[in-house]
């Protein structure tokens, strides 16, 4: 990696933790007696404290948005192509906060953390958390950092749901909400994918009802399959065809059940990798958070009324090849924002990457974000 010498990199990042002793009441009714949020920051908060941008991450990412770790130079942040000095989200101008969420397995309080009531890991007893809960937890982080109002809250996929929810939970604290590859609620088909992933985990004999930490095992088989299912839905059929075609690893069909096609090899690799670093209990909770997200539910399904609270200016971006969160879902949000006469721009980009296109460096996509950020008044 040449990252350490790259002037457009934020350089070595430091993960920090903020502790909150005050209990957090969750949407599901449970209460977290206290919690920690892992976060990273890049750039400098200006004197007026007007240049903060909150980056919300999606399912399998973390607060490590940009840069690398000194002792792990290959561990580059998940949105490093967007965030850095001179990059579209320019850390010379903005103070960027990457926040992890509660329930995560990357440093914030989650199922693998110690439950103060028992002195043992929470495991299955860790409550189900929602997007609303994450925003509430992050709000306290914003208070702690002295950020009264974010210049922007940005995210893709599940991160975009947080960006939207921020504008609803705290309308006065979000100047711009940038909602990428998202939906205001999942479709039944989308929930179905999540349920298959959860079933894969929960039926793994090593899952032990979620209390596997003290048994010294990890439901890796379930996690692998969950990841494979997810991965299939995150990339477009077109991108998959281009990447793998029908290339046979051994040159000819094996007429057995070893790896024949490249795509099988890729999925197994992704599944294996994921199962070594991701926590099964976290996966269950995050997919539930996705399923439950539906700000219109409290308004009889009327998204227009649900978004009436928002005061932010919005940039909504979708990708035509994204079949997991289709452009039609983004247009629903745009329509509701227009009904409320909100400031909104909408980009529907013909990028080939599928749902994962939000992580990629399509030149139009990045040019749009660059201009959009440049026009944000601080």
């Amino acid at each position: 990696m040449n990252a350490p010498h790259d002037p457009s990199s934020v350089g070595a990042a430091t993960a920090q933790k903020a502790q909150f002793a005050e209990p957090l009441r969750l949407r599901g009714g449970a209460e977290l007696p206290s919690y920690e949020i892992a976060y990273e920051t890049y750039g400098r908060l200006n004197e007026a404290r007007s240049n903060a941008v909150l980056v919300c991450h999606a399912l399998n990412a973390s607060h490590h948005v940009a840069g690398f770790y000194k002792n792990e130079p290959n561990n580059v942040g998940w949105w490093d192509n967007l965030v850095g000095p001179g990059k579209p989200l320019d850390t010379n101008r903005f103070f960027v906060v990457g926040s992890n969420y509660i329930g995560s397995c990357f440093g914030s309080t989650g199922p693998a953390s110690i439950n103060p009531a028992t002195g043992k890991p929470w495991g299955a007893d860790f409550p189900v958390v929602t997007v609303e809960d994450w925003v509430e937890a992050q709000r306290r982080l914003a208070d702690r950092l002295g950020i009264e109002r974010f210049a922007a809250v940005i995210g893709g996929s599940l991160g975009a749901m947080q960006a939207l929810q921020w504008s609803l939970s705290y309308p006065d604290r979000v100047h711009h909400s940038i909602v990428i590859a998202a939906a205001a609620k999942l479709t039944p088909q989308n929930i179905a994918f999540n349920e298959v992933a959860r079933q894969a985990i929960m039926t793994d004999p090593d899952f032990h009802g979620g209390h596997y930490y003290d048994k010294g095992v990890v439901p890796t088989r379930g996690l692998r399959i969950a990841r494979m299912i997810g991965h299939i839905t995150y990339i477009s059929g077109e991108a998959m065809a281009e990447k793998f075609g029908r290339v046979l690893r051994r040159g000819t069909p094996g007429f057995d059940f070893d790896i024949d096609f490249e795509v099988e090899s890729y999925l197994r690799y992704q599944g294996d990798k994921f199962s070594t670093y991701f926590d099964a209990n976290t996966y269950l909770r995050i997919t539930k958070a996705l399923d439950y997200f539906d700000p219109a539910a409290d308004f009889g399904g009327d998204l227009t009324r649900a978004l009436a609270r928002a005061k932010a200016a919005f940039l909504v971006v979708s990708f035509k090849s994204d079949w997991r969160f289709t452009p039609a879902r983004s247009r629903e949000m745009v329509r509701a924002l227009l009904d409320n006469r909100r400031i909104v721009s909408y980009l529907e980009l013909d990028a080939p990457g599928g749902h994962d296109a939000f992580l990629l460096e399509d030149p139009r996509y990045h040019a749009a974000l660059r201009s959009y950020f440049a026009n944000i008044d601080l």
């Binding site: 745009v334 329509r335 909408y346 980009l349 749009a368 440049a374």
Partner: protein, 192 residues
């Protein structure tokens, strides 16, 4: 800005909510905001134009006009603008109806195919190429050319009431024989 756009800025009332269909780089919307304090949105399909709008700090929505204006509620705009866009649209009648569904009034401008210069070029055996019709036939985005008379006939048939008309050539108003001497037509119209 093009001469039709300069006229449009004068027609839009102060503070009106505007929707510019086929807004290009957003220059018209920017002037409407600066000169008329008229907040608005542009609709545009071309990536480059959409990016220019974002750079120009203009609200832009990247959707295809051919599929209608389903993003917009009935009567949600004071004024809907089709500035040199109508001739690029396949579903002409549909879009005109959609325009007057979402807007209280519509402003439509188009290059007049009846201008003498266009007629002459056709008479001499070629598709017209001019300042208002700047494309060769094989590269033009235009699919539905019309003359001033044609447009007014269609409005009559669709029950669209023409409130105001401005015909231009070289940026100057043309009153004498407009369908022959005008190269650009601008209309303000309402439903019925």
């Amino acid at each position: 800005m093009r001469p039709d756009q300069q006229a449009i800025v004068q027609w839009v009332s102060k503070g009106a909510r505007v929707l510019d269909l086929g807004c290009g780089d957003g220059a018209l919307l920017r002037s409407l905001w600066q000169e008329r304090e008229a907040p608005g949105y542009g609709v545009e399909i071309e990536d480059e134009a959409v990016l220019a709008c974002v750079a120009n700090d203009v609200n832009v929505l990247q959707v295809d006009l051919e599929s209608g204006l389903s993003l917009f509620a009935d009567g949600s705009f004071d004024c809907v603008i089709l500035s040199e866009t109508l001739q690029t649209i396949h579903r002409t009648e549909f879009l005109l109806r959609e325009m007057l569904r979402v807007g209280h009034e519509g402003i439509v401008s188009f290059p007049n195919f009846g201008h003498w210069n266009a007629r002459l070029q056709i008479l001499l055996g070629n598709m017209p190429v001019s300042e208002t019709l700047p494309y060769q036939w094989y590269e033009t985005p235009n699919v539905h050319h019309c003359t001033i008379t044609d447009f007014e006939d269609l409005c009559r048939r669709l029950g669209i009431r023409i409130r105001e008309r401005l015909v231009l050539h070289d940026g100057k108003p043309v009153t004498l024989m407009p369908n022959l001497l005008g190269s650009l037509a601008v209309y303000r119209c309402t439903a019925g």
